[in-house]
Structures are given as structure tokens and as C-alpha cells.
Amino acid sequence: MSSTSRKRQLGRPVSIVGAGMSRFGAFADKDSRDLFVEAFQDMLDNLDQGIDVGDIECAYVGNYSSDLFEHQGHTAPIIADWLGLTPMPVTRIENACASSGSALREGIMAIASGLYDIVLVGGMEKMTSLPTEGVTDVLATAADGLYEVPAGLTFPGIFGAIATSHMDRYETNLDHLLKVGIKNHENGALNPKAQFNVTIQSLMERRMARAHERGQPVPEYVTEMDFLNDPGANPWIAWPLRLYDCAPITDGAACVLLVASEIAQNFTDKPIELAGTGQASGRPLHDADELTSLSAAKAAAGKAYEMAGVTADDIQVAEVHDCFTIAEIVATEDLGFFAPGEGSKAVDEGRTALNGDKPINTSGGLKAKGHPVGASGVAQVAEIFHQLRGESGDRQVNNPNLALGLTHNVGGTGGTCVVNILRRSS
């Protein structure tokens, strides 16, 4: 049996018993460690039966680039110190925007191996310390610095090129992209921790009101599409992507507490099992199999589905990596929710909306919740954890049988992808 075809299973089952998130946004007075502490405290405050913090045995922290954003390397021991958990072993994991998704896998394996029973996994990023141009340059270091970046390709640029290809090959158009953003802002408006806790409709009305107050000509927007098609309100970033096609620059942190499933009941009556996990690597876009798909996402999803013993059709709710609107459309195709080229139609038909048959990014996604890159993978898992436990408040998916959710976390432009499948224990 070849090593790549063997069906992989965890050495023993692993469950999530708690999840926490800081507010996501722009916080000039907070460093990444402060955000991590905020997420950790949120998790402790919501842990059903509590924990003696000293019982946590090990931690993995996803962080993309505190080195360039904060001029701070070696962040893992700082987190251990700020949580008062030294000499607990802590390791920082860097896989671009999939840093904390990758950190989660390390935590899962640390428990599945039998080495530890209780492991903390989180992620953090402090990004607003740099101006937009500086952030663009930092994010570009996740692309191939020798053969992509010199061509002038930026992060939005590479996803812009994917969008061009998708529109070329399928019936996807600019409106489909904008509708992903509208949908995710509608969900974000229901998420009190989201950076953009507001609909695009409200942003449009604010812009009109502001013009009125200042005695300037008031734009004649009737619908959100009018607003989004105004280059003054929604300028081009990397054609065919505009400002509202891009996830924002965000400060934030998230964490989850993993335990061996056999002791999960010590912490909560409603543990969420990690039913499947998959991770894969991919080549730069120019060397990708297709220009309309991320091969790493398909490979990671295949492994996760196999481990969980489920198919794409079984997934009831998912958080996918919408760093750009086109990325959500591509993700829903790569995950097998919709056929290639059909992802945009699904958005059009409302199938991915909160009340659709395949709710995607109920948190608001990276687009509206915010995208502190090193935190995003675990923040996605936190959202699915709460959804499966029925505690998502106004954005709770209305399905009493909700039991199976998925997260899809992409690093760079598809160089890394981590897919996790979460199951409510029966």
C-alpha cells in the first residue's frame, strides 16, 4: 500500500470543548499578545464547566508575520508568559493565512499521539500597525518572491487573475463577486465581534447621509449594487476585484481548547468532535493544474472527507476562506458543494445565505468578520463550534439537526490549505 493512498485516522478521538475570540477590528492601543489574552479570557468565560488553567499541557499558536508587522519574532513564549503558563511548551506555526489552521492540526496530532490530553490552539495577527502599502508588501511575502512577486503580482492581484479566469471560463460576472460581499456583510451585521458589524446597505446609507451633511451632491444610489458600482465608493484594487471584494486589514486573535474525547465530558456536555482533518500544499498559480481552482483545497478536502467518512453533500454549514469574494466561489467548488463554475450561480440563488441550503460564512467570513491572517483558521473553527452547539444568536443556522460543519483555511494563494470537519457528538 502506498503511503499516499492509505486511509489516515487519528490515534484517538479529539474534541473541542471551548472557543474564544477577541473583537476583530483596528486597535491602535493593542499588541498581538493583548489580543490573544482577550481571546483566551473569552474562551475561559464560556467554558461550560471551567478549567484549572494550569492543566493546559501544551499550546500551538498560528501567527503569520509578527516579525514584519510588529518587529517581533519568537512570539510563542511571549504568549505562554502573558497567559501565565510558562514553562508549558508553546510553538508558533507559520503557514501564511493558514497559520492557525495548521496550528490546529498540530494540536490535534499532539493529543491523537497520546502525548497530551489538553492542548490550547490559537492564532493572532496585529496588522494595522502598517499602512496599506506596507501590509500589501508583507502579504506578498506569502507568494513566491522569486518568480511571482517580481512580475508585479500582489495578493489581490493573484486572486484577481483567478477571477479573470473564472469569468472567462464560466458564467461568473462582476455582480456575482459583489453579491458574495453583500451576503457576508449581512451575516457580519449579526456578529457583534465582526470588524464590519454592518450591512453594505447601511454603509451605503451612511455615505449618502455624510454627503448630505456636508452639503455635497448626494449619490443617487437605489440599491446596494448602485453603491458597489460607484468607483468613488468602491474603487478598483486589482481588476476585476474592487475594495468590497477584499477582506479588510484586521487585528484579532482566536483560540480553542482541544482535549482527548475521552475526557471531554469533564469540560462540557456539548463537546464538538474533530471528525476529519486534511492539509495539503500547492504550487504558485502559474504552475497550478487549473487557474480557476486551488488544488491544495481539493486535496485537503478529500483527506478530511475520507477521515470523517462523509461527503460534501453531508456538510450543513461551512466557514470558507473568502480573503477575496472570488475565493469563496472557488472554495465552494473545490470543496465539492457545487460543480466547477456553479459557485457563482449558488450565490445568485441565495443557496449560500444564512437561510439557504448551504450556509457559507455565517460569521461574516473574512470579508466582514475581518481577517487577522494568523487568527483566521481558528476563528473559523470557533464559529462552527458555536453553530453546532446552537449558540450563535441572531446568526444561528435555523436547523435543529445541525451536526456537521466544515472549515476551509487557505495559506497564501493556495500554497497551503487546511480543511477540518466538526461533528456534534450525539
Binding site: 500589501t136 522569486l146 518568480y147 512580475a151 508585479g152 477571477a163 502559474h286
Partner: protein, 138 residues
């Protein structure tokens, strides 16, 4: 320096682009796989016997984007919100694809740029600091 003495590295790739105005990558002598990026080991068969391979410089524009929010290095060249540039992926006539700067098109009118357009290598004004394969419509 004779080609055979050069290392299969990005440094050599850049010398070909800037000094000799050629697009030179590698070919695996074992399986024939081509790579525009010089690699010391074949990514397809893991063979170690690589040779230099000069590409014709002809290809097609497979996808593109026009960038308005530009990185610092492109800002220094005068690109920006009011002066976007075009970049994308070219499929070479020999088969492989690469990321490339696209010149000779109006990046302010991306709707007029078409994928599938035949393009040719043009290294007349290649950046000596950070060279990149640059193409224009044929």
C-alpha cells in the same frame, strides 16, 4: 560565463533576463520536463540531470489582472491608483506557464484586454534590480 558553468538558480535566471535578454529555464534530461524557473532538481521525476533550455519567448496570455493598489516597488516606478499596470500568467508555446509583467496594453481599460492574446517576450526595459519576464501583444 559559459552556460554550462552556471548554477540552476534564480541568480542565473536574472542574468539571462538582464544581460542576455533571454528567457532561459531548465529541461530535465531524464524525463524532458521543462521549467521556466531554473531548478536544481526536476519537480516531476526528481531527476538531478538538468540542462539549460531557452524558451522561444512566444506564448498566450492565459489570465491577467490590472493592479491599482500597487506595492512599494511599483509605486516608485510611477504606478498607482491613476496609473495601473497589467500583470498575469503567460502560457509559453513550449507548454509551461509563468507569471509575467504585461506591457503594451492599456491597463486602465482592462475590459479591452483579452485572454488568449498572443504575446511575445520584450526585455528591452527589464528592471535590472528585480527582473521579471515581460511580454507584449505580438
Amino acid at each position: 560565463m559559459a552556460e554550462e558553468n552556471r548554477a540552476f538558480t534564480a541568480a542565473s535566471f536574472k542574468i539571462f533576463l538582464t544581460k542576455e535578454k533571454k528567457l532561459v529555464g531548465v529541461r530535465c534530461r531524464a524525463c524532458g520536463t521543462l521549467s521556466p524557473e531554473p531548478r536544481p532538481m526536476c519537480h516531476s521525476c526528481h531527476g538531478r540531470d538538468m540542462e539549460w533550455y531557452e524558451f522561444s519567448g512566444k506564448g498566450r496570455l492565459s489570465t491577467f489582472t490590472c493592479i491599482s493598489i500597487v506595492p512599494a516597488r511599483m509605486s516608485e516606478k510611477g504606478y498607482g491608483r491613476d496609473n495601473p499596470y497589467c500583470t498575469g500568467i503567460v502560457t509559453l508555446e513550449e507548454g509551461p506557464r509563468l507569471s509575467a509583467l504585461i506591457i503594451g496594453v492599456d491597463a486602465a481599460k482592462p475590459e479591452d484586454i483579452e485572454t488568449g492574446t498572443e504575446v511575445v517576450l520584450d526585455l528591452a526595459e527589464v528592471d535590472s534590480e528585480s527582473p521579471t519576464p515581460t511580454f507584449r501583444p505580438a
